[in-house]
Symmetry: C2
Subunit: 120 residues, 2 copies
């Protein structure tokens, strides 16, 4: 069992925001669940700014929590397809899944404004 296909294999590739709620374009609650923690969000900011993959240890350096906690946070984001993970020797490098993340955000925004434009 490698690093990317782990639990629910929720890793979707790009333009498929998993619709819940019947309304297409609205992501699954688990998508937001992955982003709703302050620590996880700061990890996201770090990886976005890094612009390149970072190991678990590197990410953990910037945080006061245990490495295992950071590892778990990264796994949560990876399981939702928001992060990508690849082993390199004994390290695992995490990076932002830009395509999926941006597509999910735009898809949600489009669904909202397409269904309900106030006036224009």
């Amino acid at each position: 069992m490698n690093a990317q296909t782990r639990k629910k294999t929720a890793g979707m590739t790009s333009g498929d925001s998993p619709s819940c709620c019947g309304l297409p374009g609205i992501p699954d609650a688990r998508f937001f669940r992955a982003l709703c923690d302050p620590t996880r969000l700061r990890i996201m900011a770090l990886l976005v700014e890094a612009r390149q993959p970072r190991t678990v240890s590197e990410v953990a350096e910037g945080f006061p929590v245990d490495v295992s906690v950071v590892s778990r946070h990264l796994a949560v984001l990876r399981d939702q397809g928001i992060l990508l993970a690849e082993r390199q020797g004994k390290e695992v490098r995490y990076s932002v899944n830009y395509e999926f993340l941006v597509s999910a955000l735009h898809g949600f925004a489009r669904a909202v404004e397409a269904c309900c434009p106030p006036e224009e």
Copy 2:
């Protein structure tokens, strides 16, 4: 104390996604926290599809949970600026704050892709 300014007065008007994490454009964790519940997300879908304000009772009709629970969910979304609330007599009508929501989503997406465009 009226319906909109309630707890933390987190109700921001439109284009100001409250940056956490130092990286501007990334919303506060509480923004995602408000969207990370399945019921709340279905409420969002309902209000988006409705295209017009809905009372608490009207929203609650479509859900198996108690009215008080729906009221709390609506309050959570309102406190984050995602929903708008206005009293009309004894009823309170909730509607989607399109400007804020879409702006927050696009702002996040822009921050991500601006900081880290894979290739283009």
